[in-house]
Symmetry: C3
Subunit: 150 residues, 3 copies
């Protein structure tokens, strides 16, 4: 999250990193295949939602463990991304901040809306950019309940 001039980030990288976050959100919203989510992360990735009171897990097994009950509990998801900002870039790694409006509706009818920020650290791999760390925080107070994501 160190502040380096974003001009250091080639446009191709910037857009590919945005695409990674969009792919992550779409995999979360499809509620169909956790492998699609894992594919956005390196094998050793830290997945840290402690900033919003949820899990802090490591690696694909940890990510799978987090999303298994989420996918079982949720009927609908929508994660809108905007305000992308590359905050660090050294050619092989980068950090990006984005705003998210995350909406969920549980099979039990209870809903949640999160207004916050995503922070991704990413690394260039042979399969494109992958996240090595993911964290988020709130911009606005939570509306509804995150019970279905616990």
């Amino acid at each position: 999250m160190t502040a380096r001039p974003i001009e250091a980030c080639p446009i191709e990288d910037r857009l590919a990193i945005e695409d990674l976050l969009v792919a992550y959100a779409h995999a979360v919203d499809r509620l169909a295949n956790i492998d699609e989510i894992c594919a956005c992360f390196t094998a050793d990735a830290v997945f840290d939602l402690s900033g919003i009171g949820l899990a802090n897990v490591v690696g694909h097994a940890g990510i799978r463990g987090f999303f298994t009950p989420v996918f079982a509990n949720m009927a609908h998801h929508a994660h809108y991304l905007s305000n992308f900002a590359i905050t660090a870039h050294d050619g092989e790694t980068a950090s990006v901040r984005a705003y998210v409006t995350g909406m969920g509706m549980g099979r039990d009818g209870r809903g949640v809306t999160v207004h916050g920020r995503y922070y991704f650290d990413v690394r260039r791999t042979a399969q494109g950019w992958k996240a090595t760390r993911y964290a988020m925080d709130f911009l606005m107070p939570l509306t509804g309940t995150l019970d279905n994501a616990r």
Copy 2:
């Protein structure tokens, strides 16, 4: 909607296709001139909102027929686009998915909010990229009523 690597899409095309969707949304939101909407579509375009329970029409006459009562009924529109993803590209045609939060307020005071996805097939023309097909689906259950768009 076939999945080809988006790296195949030059940045210029990708941004021009995003601009087309933004121009469409802005024309819808201005509620001023249906020609501005038609200008986003080829003459033979399929405009298919059956995925959210609305019209499935063809061509500029069909699009005009759909929007004439909408423009008469609606007092306010706002269509926020995000999460753009090029899902196919062969140089002359492409497919793009985007997220939309679409809000409307009728002259009768009744409102609607749609959280969904846009799917555009687009074609390069002498006048820039134009949509040949437009469809959408829901991410979240509808809030309010679409009566003013029928």
Copy 3:
């Protein structure tokens, strides 16, 4: 706000101008340092929120005067930007329109949500693109109160 073809705007400029708006929104949302907001504007910038019933001020002193009570009153801010459109560009100056969903929660517990459009005129400076004029209007009727921003 004159309509010139956006193809005249190099991709580097377009993205840098988007970054300026994102930086402005993030400075507003951090509620931490008004200097970060002023840094987005030229010394002679016109900051005009009369379109939504708020201030019309000039220069860094005017901007500081506007945000001093806002920062004192607000507990949370979130300004989501999307639908960027370069509407003019001549190499040294440009105009951009963006959609905004602006949310605020006062320390008094009263909230506000604004659905509108940002209009920025920007100028290339030795320190990158800076705003020379900023205005906005509503897309949807206001929800809540702007009292905490007065």
